[in-house]
């Protein structure tokens, strides 16, 4: 039979560059009726209640806060309400400080160049930070991690690169094709997705004793 809606759950809120952010939720049961969802938020514990400024930009079941709605000076208490003809149901509140929900976009322009130094062969991998993240002015500081594996290999080999935007990799198998990917993370926040894969062919070089 028809019932009031189930309880929606706010799954996560993320900001790609600490200037805007988006929250997503998962609906509960619809109770067999048309159910409407609305997101509401309070700022810093004040009792004033605001509604989501933009339900579209972030896609379905989402709320997007653009620059003018995003403040790093305040914390947000966010809830989602499901409503149908028989009643409504409110989610658990999610508490958000935008500075701590940053998940950047992937690094860009990954290049991998095989070179030697002192007859020692190595692969020099370089990349750029994601365009949207303002790292130049220090607004965001990113750390990077790189992973590499032979084309037919199963296991990735991960290398933490700290704040570097380049990394040298040694002891690669001559003649092998390798896949290289990089992802990044702000000081407080979440790892980005892995970048697009860069393929690099290691030449048949003569391995020289280290």
């Amino acid at each position: 039979g028809q019932t009031p809606p189930g309880r929606p759950v706010i799954t996560e809120c993320r900001s790609p560059e600490k200037e805007t952010f988006t929250c997503w939720w998962v609906p509960g049961s619809s109770g067999g009726l048309t159910t409407k969802y609305s997101l509401h938020y309070k700022i810093d514990g004040s009792q004033e209640n605001y509604e989501c400024p933009d339900y579209k930009t972030g896609g379905q079941n989402s709320c997007y806060f653009n620059k003018s709605y995003t403040s790093v000076w305040n914390t947000y208490t966010i809830t989602v309400i499901a409503t149908n003809n028989l009643g409504s149901n409110i989610s658990e509140p999610l508490y958000v400080d935008v500075a701590y929900i940053v998940q950047p976009h992937q690094p860009e322009n990954i290049t991998a160049e095989f070179t030697t130094l002192d007859q020692k062969p190595y692969l020099m991998v370089k990349w750029d930070p994601p365009k949207k993240a303002d790292t130049k002015s220090g607004w965001m500081t990113l750390q990077y991690e790189l992973r590499i594996k032979p084309e037919k290999g199963l296991i990735w080999e991960n290398h933490f690169a700290g704040n570097q935007k380049q990394f040298n990799i040694y002891s690669l198998i001559p003649g092998e094709v390798y896949l290289v990917e990089v992802h990044c993370k702000p000081d407080h926040g979440y790892w980005s997705e892995w970048s697009h894969t860069t393929y690099v062919q290691i030449p048949h070089y003569m391995r020289v004793r280290d």
């Binding site: 620059k67 790093v72 000076w73 914390t75 208490t77 958000v96 400080d97 002015s137 220090g138 607004w139």
Partner: protein, 199 residues
């Protein structure tokens, strides 16, 4: 440590707010410098000389700001914050004017300038909100509420007999941007000093 857990958010600490403010103030000055470079890159040397009008004519020069390290270090946290808040508030209207002017500026880089002016206007407002938040945290009684008549209101122009020809628009734009660039350097210096004191 994230401030927001399952149950609630702890209030953002003043030290954290000042760190965030310092990042915004840094950006603000870097952006105003980039805008000044955009503007200056396309001027004939002769015009540049005409542009060197004294910044003592800036509308904010009536605010007695410190001019060296000793003077700055003598100011209290509230005084410095109030000064920053005053400077930021005094630029609200003039920055909107620069955004409008940038749209029709007879200058090859006016698209880039327009974006930068809009960003400056938004970031200045953003930083003003942050400084207000910090002031309220430090002084909830609101005694700090200052009167903005410490700064002579911006009169829509630098007090010169401005014509409405192209060159005048450029000179007026350049002069106002130079004033903002200097003030944003002061703001950046004061906020970073406050951040340092707070940690």
């Amino acid at each position: 440590q994230p401030l927001c857990g399952a149950g609630s958010c702890q209030p953002i600490l003043v030290t954290d707010l000042l760190d965030r403010a310092a990042k915004v103030s840094h950006r603000l000055h870097a952006l105003s410098t980039a805008a000044s470079n955009d503007l200056n890159n396309h001027f004939a040397p002769a015009l540049k000389l005409v542009m060197m009008r004294p910044l003592s004519l800036c509308h904010t020069s009536s605010l007695n700001t410190p001019e060296d390290k000793e003077q700055v270090l003598q100011l209290s946290q509230e005084d410095l914050l109030t000064m920053v808040a005053l400077l930021l508030k005094s630029w609200g209207t003039p920055l909107l004017y620069l955004v409008k002017e940038a749209q029709e500026l007879p200058h090859p880089a006016n698209d880039a300038l327009l974006w930068k002016m809009a960003e400056l206007s938004q970031q200045t407002e953003n930083l003003a909100r942050g400084i207000d938040k910090i002031l309220n945290k430090l002084d909830p009684t609101g005694f700090h509420s200052f009167s903005t008549d410490l700064i002579s209101p911006w009169s829509g122009g630098p007090g010169l007999e401005m014509g409405s020809d192209k060159k005048s628009h450029l000179l007026n734009f350049h002069f106002l941007l130079s004033c903002f660039r200097r003030d944003s350097n002061k703001i950046d210096s004061f906020v970073k000093l406050l951040r340092c004191r707070a940690t």
